[in-house]
Symmetry: C2
Subunit: 419 residues, 2 copies
DNA sequence: AAATTAATTTTAGTCTCTGAACTAAATTAC
DNA sequence: GTAATTTAGTTCAGAGACTAAAATTAATTT
């Protein structure tokens, strides 16, 4: 019933290119030059005539604008002609010049930081991971920790910072994407930290910030299943319960940029205690610490072990047939159904992607969770919501951060190409 | 604590004009001609120079485009100059020619239909109400019932259909705004009724359809508090619990046009039975039939009376000090808090308007509902959500329907003005 | 080799909107 | 009362972004 996606799925050859494949419904804002560039990157390679047809613009415009982009070094003609079948003059495919620009994506975590270097065509060129000791630190300490991370990355690709156009950074907490500030994060000792500016200063490079859930959503939009969907939701269950939403190929960040806190919608009056201090939050029934708490009670496990370890042993117990352990997962599964059903009821997406690194607790992602979700949802026949499970490697977040940097960098660089 | 708005509030003189006052953030799509027209209508009357400043366009463009619109009969210069204070040449205000076009808004209900005639400047010119006997009928019967409704309306304004440019219709149920079809409605015997086409045929006029909650939201956006807010949510508690959302001055209808079913989000696993057949829906704790059901149980009232009557006597009992009646309202109030808190958590609006005709059960709209809502919400200091209570007359829905027709008609008529 | 087909390129506009110069109508300074 | 000052509105050449249609190029058929 679930549509399970894995990174190295052999039977689904990855689409060429990166970024959303479908055109924006509302693509008035961006000039045609940028639309053409983004279409070429999304398709991997396309001929001018196909671009004209796909975007519904005249061939003359495509010739003129691609000529500018070729002259500026962002596009190139592909030598070997891919299509030999046609009758008339063979099309000449265009593609993005990969090393016309690079971006770095960084994910800050409590136990390790990861980084990815991506070229302008969206190819992952290098990656590095750096363990960290203290989960919570000052901005200055964080900056110092990031230097070797980026050094390793650049050394791997035999590059230096001068060719990097932007850095995207993901960190959990309350993030103000607009200003690049962090009102609060569990990983920082400061509040209202001007993290974006601090990084921009240190690395002399534009910096873009966002939270985990949005990064994951961008990763789906740029590199995953979401590329062929212009509207979808992403739900992730990890330390907390997060959600992201894409509307018309664009990340929706909530009216004032702080919405989509799926983990803290209330699913029970006076319900279970959440780490946010309130009661009845969805997260309090579903996140790792919630299950670990129940494991400690039901199985008499010591409360001293980490949430991850408690969860592992709870999972093993359930697998071994322990009924109490199973009940814990089952209840969590029912609450997941309820949460997903509420997402469908409010946003009516055509697709929900359950994404993240730990999508592997069968009990949580069993078929009956899905059927319970549909049972809890008022759906007209035409609008059954599809649900896909996408287990990524641990570099997803950093890749999502490169998508963030890439999309911002693209409009700047391509917008600056003069006629 | 609540910001209570009433239609005839003496201390808040109504803003002139109609429609959103704030410009669209993303107003690339509409040509400048339409932007100028809509700005003039929103302001009631403005001088050309003010338009240029407000929209950030050159004065030359404003002169040229307004000249076209004046020639086409949509705009006029206002004779008496309103501002006498300035130094230089006095500005000449422009305003919409009210009778350049008219639209009709119709609300279909179970017990009565109402209609409003609005001129192109947004003024309500006439209204009529027609009782109906059977709550559920065929499209053909509905059409027949609508004829006298519209006849009365036109007679009142001494007009005929030839001057009406569009009809907006609101009906409860599952409405497909795009196609004008009604997959299901409690007021129709047919399913998948092509209601829009049927009306368009009968009245020889473009017809636009939408559901109650969206109409109410449009009424707020065009004529109410929402005019000065480009992003807000509307929540209404009537027969059911409805919700509407405005993002960037535009009505957000959910990804596929069927979302925002706030009444059917689940707030309790295996909770109270909802009329949709499922359990634990917010509506099952909050809508009139839910309260009436509890009233029947707690007060031993006969189940035979209407929900409205049961609710009235329950309210009277509560007012008189009946503890059981009070408890019913109190619990409903807590669930309202919970529902509002979930709206804030997911959408993060700056304002929620509690709107509708029956905003008068103090117990439901008491200050402690509001404080409970804030208590249930994770809010950073900068983003406290404001809540306003807006009690409209029973023509709100029909007025909202005129807004629907007006916005569609405007782009057609103004777009057709040739240079 | 000529006809046909399809992909680009060129060229001559069209549309929309801006910017700067110019006119119009009032107030204020002397 | 007249000139300087201010603000509103008008005119018009032209930039920028595209389009439409003719011209060119390069292959496939016949």
């Amino acid at each position: 019933m679930y549509d399970v996606l894995r990174d190295a799925d052999p039977d689904t050859p990855p689409l060429p290119g990166c970024g959303p494949v479908l055109p924006l419904q509302d693509h008035d804002g961006s000039p045609l030059r940028q639309q053409i560039f983004e279409h070429i990157r999304a398709m991997g390679q396309v001929a001018r005539s196909d671009i004209a047809r796909a975007l519904g613009v005249s061939a003359g415009s495509v010739t003129a604008l691609t000529a500018e982009l070729i002259a500026a070094g962002f596009l190139q003609e592909v030598e070997d002609s891919p299509r030999e079948t046609g009758r008339g003059r063979p099309p000449v495919a265009l593609s993005v010049v990969p090393d016309s620009s690079y971006v770095i994506g960084i994910k800050i975590s409590d136990d390790q930081h990861s980084a990815v270097l991506t070229d302008f065509a969206g190819n992952m060129v290098a990656d590095s991971v750096q363990p960290t000791t203290s989960p919570r630190k000052s901005v200055a300490e964080l900056l110092d920790e990031t230097v070797p991370l980026i050094d390793t990355l650049l050394a791997q690709a035999k590059m230096d910072m001068t060719r990097v156009s932007a850095i995207g950074i993901g960190i959990s907490g309350i993030i103000d994407h607009q200003t690049g500030t962090v009102p609060w994060s569990p990983l920082l000792t400061e509040t209202d930290a001007d993290l974006g500016a601090a990084f921009a200063d240190r690395f002399a490079c534009p910096v873009y910030l966002d939270n985990d859930a949005n990064l994951l959503t961008l990763a789906e939009l740029w590199f995953g299943r979401g590329r062929t969907m212009s509207d979808f939701a992403v739900v992730t269950v990890e330390h907390g319960v997060g959600m992201g939403l894409v509307l018309g190929n664009r990340l929706f960040r909530g009216v004032r940029g702080m919405g989509l806190e799926l983990g803290h919608i209330k699913v029970q009056l006076d319900g279970a205690l959440c780490r946010c201090g309130q009661r009845g939050c969805l997260e309090a029934y579903l996140a790792d610490y919630a299950l670990a708490r129940e494991a400690a009670t039901a199985l008499g496990q010591p409360g001293s072990q980490t949430a991850a370890a408690a969860l592992e042993s709870l999972f093993a117990e359930a697998k071994a047939g322990n009924q109490a352990a199973r009940t814990i997962f089952e209840r969590a599964g029912r609450y997941l159904s309820l949460g997903l059903s509420n997402v469908i009821q409010l946003f009516d997406p055509a697709l929900i992607i359950l994404s993240g690194e730990r999508m592997r607790y069968d009990y949580l992602y069993a078929d009956n969770v899905l059927s319970e979700m549909h049972r809890l949802t008022l759906e007209t026949s035409r609008s059954q919501c599809e649900v896909a499970l996408h287990a990524w490697g641990d570099l997803v977040w950093a890749r999502g951060a490169t998508a963030l940097a890439l999309s911002a960098t693209t409009s700047i660089l391509i917008g600056a190409v003069a006629p």
